[in-house]
C-alpha cells in the first residue's frame, strides 16, 4: 500500500499523481484557517531539504465545503490529516469529518516541526478524537521523541488504530553570504535521504514495542523500492512518499513496480510476508 505523506502532494493540481496511490492523504486541516509561515519556505541542503510551510490550509469549514467534494471525485480512497493547537481542536475537526463516508482514515498530525506543538500529550489528543469518530485513527509521531516506543504504546492505549512514522526533523540552514537563516521562520522540517535511517529506527522500535499488532505507515526519505522494502522489513505495513514526490511525480508507480521486483527477488509472495523481516532471527 503506497500513500503520500501529508502536505507533499495536492491531488487537485496533480490528480494523475494522486491516482497512482492506494490512498491520498490530504494536507493537514485545522479548525481555523492558517495562512502558513512567512517565505522563504524552502531551502535545499546537501543531504535533503528544509521546508517551513506551517500547515497552510483553509480550515475545516472550507475544506469540507470546497476541497473535499473535489477530492471525492478522484476515485482514490481519502485520508484526512488533522492538526491543532490543543486536544479540543483535534476533537472538533475529527467530529466534523466523521460524517464524510469518503474519508476512510484520519491521521492525527501530532508532530509538525513548523508550528508550535499542541498543548496536551499525544495520548490525550488521541483519546479526545477517539470519543467522536469510529474511523481508524493514525497517530503521526516525531522521530525525536525521547522514548517513541512508550508514546506508541500510550497512543494505542488511548485508542489509536495505527502509527504514521515519521514526521520530519527540525533543521536549519544559513545563507552562505549573510549567515542569516535561509527560511523565513529560521527552523524548518528536514526531510529527504538523511531522514531514512531515522525513520527505519522509529518503525523498527515501534513495531517491536507493539509486537507487530499495530499498522504502521512508514515514511522518511523513500526514493526507491528498496527503501520501501527496508521500511516494511522494519515493520511498516504501508509506505508513504514525501520529498521524492517533489522531484518525481511518477514516483508512486515507479516505486510500486520496484517494490514488487524486490519482493519477488527475495521470494516474498506478498508484502505481509516481508513485514517485520528485520526482527526475525538470522538464518544460520
Amino acid at each position: 500500500m503506497i500513500l503520500n505523506a501529508s502536505g507533499c502532494l495536492d491531488a487537485l493540481t496533480a490528480p494523475a499523481v494522486a491516482q497512482q496511490l492506494d490512498a491520498f492523504v490530504a494536507k493537514t486541516v485545522t479548525l481555523e484557517p492558517r495562512q502558513g509561515n512567512e517565505p522563504p519556505r524552502l531551502a535545499e541542503t546537501d543531504h535533503g531539504m528544509l521546508n517551513s510551510i506551517g500547515l497552510q490550509n483553509p480550515g475545516i469549514e472550507r475544506f469540507s465545503a470546497e476541497v473535499l467534494p473535489h477530492l471525492e471525485k478522484l476515485g482514490v480512497p481519502l485520508w484526512a490529516s488533522v492538526g491543532g493547537t490543543e486536544a479540543s481542536d483535534y476533537r472538533e475537526v475529527c467530529s466534523r469529518l466523521a460524517r464524510f463516508d469518503s474519508i476512510v482514515s484520519i491521521e492525527l498530525n501530532l508532530s509538525c516541526p513548523n508550528v508550535d506543538l499542541a498543548a496536551g500529550s499525544a495520548s490525550e489528543i488521541v483519546a479526545a478524537c477517539r470519543e467522536v469518530t469510529s474511523k481508524p485513527l493514525y497517530a503521526k509521531l516525531s522521530p525525536v521523541l525521547p522514548d517513541i516506543a512508550r508514546v506508541a504504546l500510550a497512543v494505542r492505549g488511548a485508542g489509536a488504530d495505527g502509527l504514521s512514522l515519521v514526521n520530519s526533523l527540525r533543521g536549519l540552514a544559513l545563507d552562505e553570504r549573510t549567515l542569516r537563516p535561509r527560511l523565513g521562520r529560521a527552523v524548518g522540517g528536514y526531510s529527504g535521504a538523511a531522514l531514512r535511517p531515522v525513520a527505519l529506527a522509529a518503525v523498527y522500535t515501534c513495531y517491536a514495542a507493539t509486537q507487530g499488532e499495530m499498522p504502521i505507515v512508514g515514511m522518511g526519505g523513500v526514493e526507491s523500492g528498496r527503501h520501501a522494502l527496508d521500511l516494511v522489513a522494519c515493520g511498516a505495513s504501508a509506505i508513504a512518499l514525501g520529498s521524492v514526490l517533489l522531484s518525481d511525480p511518477d514516483a508512486p508507480a515507479r516505486i510500486r513496480a520496484e517494490l514488487a521486483c524486490e519482493l519477488d527477488t527475495r521470494e516474498f509472495a506478498a508484502l505481509e510476508q516481508a513485514r517485520g523481516a528485520a526482527h526475525r532471527p538470522a538464518e544460520r
Binding site: G7, P39, P40, L42, A43, M49, L245, L246, S247, D248
Partner: protein, 234 residues
Amino acid sequence: MPRRERCRVVARESIGPYSLLRLDRGGLDAGLPGQFFMLEAPGRTLPRPFSTCQARKGELAFLIDPIGPATRALCALEVSAAITLFGPLGNGFRTDVAKPLLVGGGIGVAALPYTWEAMGGPPAILGFRSADHAEAGALVPGAEICIEPTLVTDLLPDEPRDLLACGPEPMLRELRRLSPDAQLAWEAPMACGYGACYGCAVEIDGEFKRLCVEGPILNGRSPVTPILAREVGQ
C-alpha cells in the same frame, strides 16, 4: 500538457558569465513563452525551475547563471549527458497585446528570447550589471541594451506600452508602479513546480498563494512581500 522526460544535452554555450544549455526535447511540448520547466540538477535533492529561453525545432534551451551548487552542476553538464525535464509548467505571457515591449533585467532575460520569437520580434529593452553580463543581450535581436548605473526603467518610452517583463524584484516593482497592467514574471524558491508543496508561496491579494500555480506571470497582481529569491539561491 506537462510531461517528464529524460533529455540529452546537445550543446552548452558560454554567454558572458551565463551558460545556455541546449537539450534535445524529445516529446516535450515547448509550452508558452513565460512558462517554465523543472530541470534535474545532478547530485541535488530538488530540481530547479527555468523559463524556456529558446524553443528551436527539436530543442529546448535554458539560460543559467551559475550562482549555487545546483546551477553550477547544470552549467558543468557535458554534451550527451542526460537530465530529466518536467514541464511546461505555470502560466505564460499573454502574447495577443497591441503594443508589446519586452523588458528584461539580468538573468531575467532568459524568458525573453522565446517570447520575442513567438511574438514576431517586438522591441525590447534589456539591462545588465556589467558588459560581461550584457553579452546575453544578443539573444534578443535588436534589443536596446543598458548597463548599470543606467536602468531599464530609465529607458522606457513615454507613450504607454504593453510590458512583458522578467528580472530582479526591484525592477518588477518599479515597472508595476509605472504600468499597473504590466505582465511580470516573478520568481520564488520552488521545490516541485506543480503545486504539491506550497513552498513557493508568495503573498498575493492578502493571502499566501503558490507562485507555480498562480504564476509565474501574475497579470495585474504582484506579491506584497519581497520574495528574496536570490537570498536562498539556486
